[in-house]
Every structure is written in C-alpha cells, then in structure tokens.
Symmetry: C2
Subunit: 369 residues, 2 copies
Amino acid sequence: MQPILSISPRIRSTPFTERVKAAGVKAYTVYNHMLLPTVFNSLEEDYHHLKKNVQVWDVSVERQIEIQGPDSQTLIQMITPRDLSKMRDDQCYYIPVVDDSGGMLNDPVAVKHSQNKWWISIADSDLIYWIKGIAVAKNMNVTIIEPDINPLAIQGPKADELMRRVFGDEITSLKFFRHKKIHFNGKYHLVARSGYSKQGGYEIYTNGFKSGEALWDRLFEAGQNLNVKAGCPNLIERIEGGLLSYGNDMTQKNSPYEAGLGKFCSPNSSIDFIGAEALKKQSIEGPTKQIRGLFIDGKSISACTKPWHVTHGDKKVGQVTSAAWSPDLSKVVAIGMIDREYWSIGNELEVICPSGKRTAKITQLPFIK
Amino acid sequence: MQPILSISPRIRSTPFTERVKAAGVKAYTVYNHMLLPTVFNSLEEDYHHLKKNVQVWDVSVERQIEIQGPDSQTLIQMITPRDLSKMRDDQCYYIPVVDDSGGMLNDPVAVKHSQNKWWISIADSDLIYWIKGIAVAKNMNVTIIEPDINPLAIQGPKADELMRRVFGDEITSLKFFRHKKIHFNGKYHLVARSGYSKQGGYEIYTNGFKSGEALWDRLFEAGQNLNVKAGCPNLIERIEGGLLSYGNDMTQKNSPYEAGLGKFCSPNSSIDFIGAEALKKQSIEGPTKQIRGLFIDGKSISACTKPWHVTHGDKKVGQVTSAAWSPDLSKVVAIGMIDREYWSIGNELEVICPSGKRTAKITQLPFIK
C-alpha cells in the first residue's frame, strides 16, 4: 500500500502548489519543511518527457538564505572549503558546507549578488541555523533572513525556446551558472542557467509569493505547442546524470571527499573556513569510502527507501542510497558509497535489495554525460 | 485525492518502522527528516482508543542532541530564556529556544543527566546546527552529537499498568517530567513521565536501534489484555489539550510570548542568553498577537493544510493553524494566533476555511484540562 502524506501548515505549500495539484501531481516528498512533487504521470513517463521536451518544476523547496552586510563575504567563506575569492557578482557556485569535523551540513548553490549580498540556495537542512549561530556568536555585521523567493525550474532540451518566447532572445545568452535579472509582473526576478537535471535549463528565483501563479501561467501559455508539462526532479534522470542528493547519497556523517566533491575543496590554500584542519588531513590521507555509480543486475528495481547494504562475500563494504531502472541504458543504475578497498571501477560486488541479493558492478559517475 | 508520500533514505526510517507498518499505519508526516505516523484507523477511532486505553507511539522523530563537556550548562543556558539554574539532574524542562531577535527556533524538552551531560529532545527543525554553530564559533569545550536514541511513547490512562507489567511497580513512582533509567535487553534506557498527550504516560528513550523491535514486542505482549494498540500523536486530542506544534502553531517568526510561553521566559533575571534584549522589550510591551483557542461553528472541518485567515469584517486579524472536530466537546476546536485587539476570550470573529467563512469564538487553552 502506498503511504499517504498528512499535510499541515508545518509542511509548507508553495506559490505553485495549486497549479501543481491542477496538473495532477501524484506524489510528494517533504524538503525543507515544504512540499516537493516527485511524480506526475509515472517516473518513466516524466523521464521520457523531460529528455525530449520542456518541463516547469516547482522547486520552491530550494529556500534562499539571504546574507547582507559588510561581513557577508567573510561569513560565507567561513562555511565552505571552496575558494570564493575569484567569484564574480553574476556567478553561482556549488559549495559544500561543512562543520568543524568536515562533515557535510548541506550542498547549496551560492548566488553572489555583490560582495555584501548573497543568496545561499539550500538542499534539505536548516542551514540558516548554522550560519546564524556562527554570525550571532561572532557578533558579525550581517543580516540573515529567508526571503520570499521561490525557485521555478525550466528544464529540458526545449527550455531555451520556451524562455526565449517569454523573456526574449537575450535570456538565452546567459552562460552556465551565471545569473541575471528579468522583469515580470512588475518585479525583478533573478534567473540563472542551472537546475537539478542534465537536460539544460534555467531556474527563475520567483520574487514574491504573489507572482507565482502569473509566472506559471505565462510559461504554460507560451509553451503550449512545445508540449510543456509540469514536472519535478526525476529520480532516473538525476541518477543517470550523477547528481547527488544531500540526505540520501551523503549526510552529515560524510566529508566532501567521500561525496566525490574534492575538486570543490581548497583546504591547503590561504582561505579561512571552519573544518579546514579536518579536510586538510583527509586531502592528504584520502577518504576511506567514496561515492560511486553501480550497475545492478536485473530488469527492474523497487524504490530505495532506506540504504541497501553492499557486500563482498559476508562483508559489508558499502551502501546504495539511490537506484532506478534506466530505460535509455536498459540497466538498473544506482549511486552508493563504497569502501576504498572495493571502489575500483569494474569491481563486482553484491547489493542486498528488498528482492534479494543481486550482483552489481562499480562504474563511473555520471552514467550519461 | 490523497497525496502519496515518496520515501527515500533522506526520509529516515526508525527502529519501529517495520512494526508500525505491520500495525497498519495509514499516513505519515515527515518530521526531522524522519517518518512520523499520523493515522492508524482514523483520527477519531485513534482518539477514542487513546482516551480509554493505552497506545505505543513511534516518536523516534524526537531526535536527541547530546551535549557533553565542561561548557554544557553555559551553552544550554545561552540558547533559552528559561532559567535552568535550579534544574535537578533527573528533571526534564520544556524550553523555548530563541534566536537573537527572540524568534523561536524550536521548543524542545531539555533532559538533564548532569551539569556536563544533557539531551535536547527536539521538535521539527535542525536545532543541532544552531547549537553547534554557536559552540564552534565560541570555541566552547563541548561535544555535540545526535546519538542513536529513539523515543517510544506509552500514552493513555492504562499506561501506568502497562509499564508496571513490563518494568515493575517502581516505575510508576516516577513524577511528571522526571526521568530514571531502566534496564532492558542488556542496556540502560532513560524513561521519563512525559509525552505529547494529556492522557498521561511515559517516553522511553530507546537506547540503540537494535533494541527497538524487542521493546515494541515486549510491550505488546504484556499489554494484550489491556487492548494496547499502535498509535501516534493525535491531532484532535492534542488540540483539546492545548499542546502546540512548532512549525504549525508558531514558527521562527514568533516569540515565546506570542506562543503563550511567557511563563518559561526570564529575560529580566541574571541569566545570560541570546535574544535577551528582544525578549526583555517584549516582556514589557507585551506581544501584539498571541496563541488562542477557537471554537469554530459547524459539525465538521477539513484538515488545515495551510494557515486559514481569521477576519473581523474585512480585516485580517489572525490565522488558524490547527483544527479538528472534537467528538467529546461536540465542537470544532482550533488553535490560532490572534491580534491583540481581538484576542479577548469570548470575542466573535470569522475563519476563512476551505468550506467558506465560518463564525468562531475565542476561548482559553487548553479546551480540556
């Protein structure tokens, strides 16, 4: 039996919730205390449509932490091992955020407006508590709020065409992980070329709850003959693309090196951040386990609702946290964390799924570039 | 159509999840990134059973923040306006936790083991980020972790009898909001007389994931002829009892005074906590809105999935965030936040529910003592 979700004000609705319901959403997850759609038609139908057309996603759950004031840059550099010193005012950076022992607290996108104004676009944890706690304890000159900003993603190969129709040719010159402002419904909204898929697209940081439905409707009106549909981050497509999910594939117990995010860490540079000592140590010694792709034998797979053990003989050597049948690869694709001794590409291991023990082979991420 | 919940490892299972499923859980909410059951038979059947018998609740979502070390007491006093100086080593305190502007970050129960060891049993937010942020920034001598502790609540008028059968006579001498240790399955577990109902009972802080099912089974075995059932916090009963829900009835935007928790605040004492200045101001001026009970006209009510406006004529004067039909009072009972000018007991206002505008009358909390 499919479990029902009880919704209360604590599980917040978004500016797009009524439109999402009207579009026939079938299931949600809860993310940052908010509703995030997970399925409209079926995982596979949504997947095929995303890869051929264009979808509009309610990703309001990507809450923004707005940091303003003279100490902003110092504070943000303090929470991440990624060197922000060369970042431009129109850039977005994917930044691991770590605690004093190097454990990941979130993997947000930092959106720089200027040295003294930033948004941190967060994954699923109350990162504002960490940032505010540090700022208050250190008596820093910043103000930190969650503004009324609600991201709407436009994803898929026809995203450029849809955006052009609504916002003009100029928008399509935007480069990857760069942002600019657009004017709509009497307000300025930030738009970035970004999104949690590998199909290309944009995220519109909708400014104000009240602009939500007008923006949604405008996009659907303009995209009618592009076969635009309501969608959401798609489990199959994001596994194929090797996009990690914080809370699933890595948690507070993992370092960025374990999550395969070493390229975003500069613990040996001159930047000053919390957890530098722990990460420095790990950058030298290397992690003892790491994120890998896995092909799992079989023609289908049930949803991974809790970590599945990965074994070698009787020994537990890792876990799988995301898995799905990939129609385009005709294989079960998975993401897991595997012990160093066993993580080599091509290694054969076993995965204990609900259907029993299956053979699996370690592979690179992403599955599809 | 009832929305489906997509479960992934990010929505963590508990030691009791398999037993909860076997007991026929119908719906969940997500709380602290974990599954919390909301309905077994129906809200009303669960309610009647809870008020007459005894239920076992999987409230593992009440995650513990364990704080140990010489600076523990200083740190915990720093996060709450409640004076902890006279707290005994076997006591539990309900403590509002506030930020620098006096906004509530959580309303946990502090469980004191000793001056240098505490658990903070949290409501729905990542409070560990706030506490760790402060401790790290101030370089305090503490260690802070989320231990493998999973509360199981035994609630209802027959809770004493069930606990006596399993743990002996002595357990029933435990006073309200006091705790002690019991031995079960080769381990010590903390037990407190507490719980999120007004029917009386205990919370067993199950020590270790692996003890979960053994404890559950032992309680059901011993309680068979007490008509023990799997249950969960019951919306109707908790509204009748005036038990607030953080994230629903009050949020980070509210002060403890607005939440009606002024009696737990000592901003004018000598204790040193974050937000003291803001709360001092509010303790003098009084809040501009506050939690109230409301009787809403009508013989039934739909679930409150987002705040409902409370109006006086054309003016918005508050909001309702929890509502249910109370079989025992034969009325719709609700909890809301009402502006000062309109919050007097007996005042008549209107509530905009999905079914339309209804008359409502302000009343005291709790509805039933």
